[in-house]
Symmetry: C2
Subunit: 120 residues, 2 copies
DNA sequence: TCAATGCTACAATAATTATTGAATTATTCA
DNA sequence: TGAATAATTCAATAATTATTGTAGCATTGA
């Protein structure tokens, strides 16, 4: 992940409403959520939702798909993965033994194993 | 981790200079880095460094210790762990099978195993 | 085609954040 | 104590970000 994109993603998440929207979308998973539902879940107006969700899109954290007169938003799983990887990839500068259990392996999802070494 | 602190930490990292300072401190580990070294590593002045490093402290990502006329900064490992945990804890809403390899287990440090099952 | 619905774009304003230089505080050493 | 060094505080300015209302576009269904 590029530093510029990482900063954009961090900035996107560093805002009350956007963080709430993001977490809502994370929970919704593949199903996704329409713009209107997102707006009412966050207690914000349509204009404000549009502004914030666009920031999340621009940061590569969310995708959009039109469904008739609705627009459905979904978590961009690759984008989320990229950010998490970026935040943890430099820890210990390649010397895991220096920091111990820095990354909370047990708090996320996915199998309990290492991924191939070419993950960035 | 409290949402307010998470936002503060995300905002702290969502800035070019602070992200560079943070990563420098991550690499430096327990040794830490003095303010002056940090400033020149980031190519910024003393005033600017003071401003940015204070933001990182306020976000619980960095600690400070005076050493004579120097001040040494170190990564706050607990703070970093807390943020990483917060960002991944809600993924899949407790249903790991829904999202697959969302969390980049292989990119961080620490042992390849789950932490106790009562992590949420 | 017209009205209604869902959402986005634009513009104005308010609020927050970053940068810079000058002054200030803390420490060391002669 | 006084000079030098390391870092912070303060104030002014510039830049970025958030909010709100209004207008506009896309889609549906009568």
């Amino acid at each position: 992940m590029d530093e510029t994109i990482a900063i954009r993603a961090l900035a996107a998440l560093a805002q009350e409403h956007r963080l709430a929207l993001f977490r809502h979308l994370v929970r919704a998973g593949r199903t996704g959520v329409t713009a209107g539902e997102l707006a009412s879940s966050a207690g914000i107006g349509a204009t404000s939702l549009s502004f914030h969700v666009k920031e999340l899109e621009r940061a590569g954290l969310v995708t959009q798909q039109r469904e008739g007169r609705f627009i459905r938003y979904r978590l961009d799983v690759q984008g989320m993965r990229g950010l998490l990887a970026f935040l943890s990839e430099d820890c210990c500068d390649g010397q895991p033994e220096l920091c111990g259990d820095l990354v909370p392996l047990g708090s996320g999802c996915g199998p309990t194993r290492r991924i191939s070494s070419n993950d960035q």
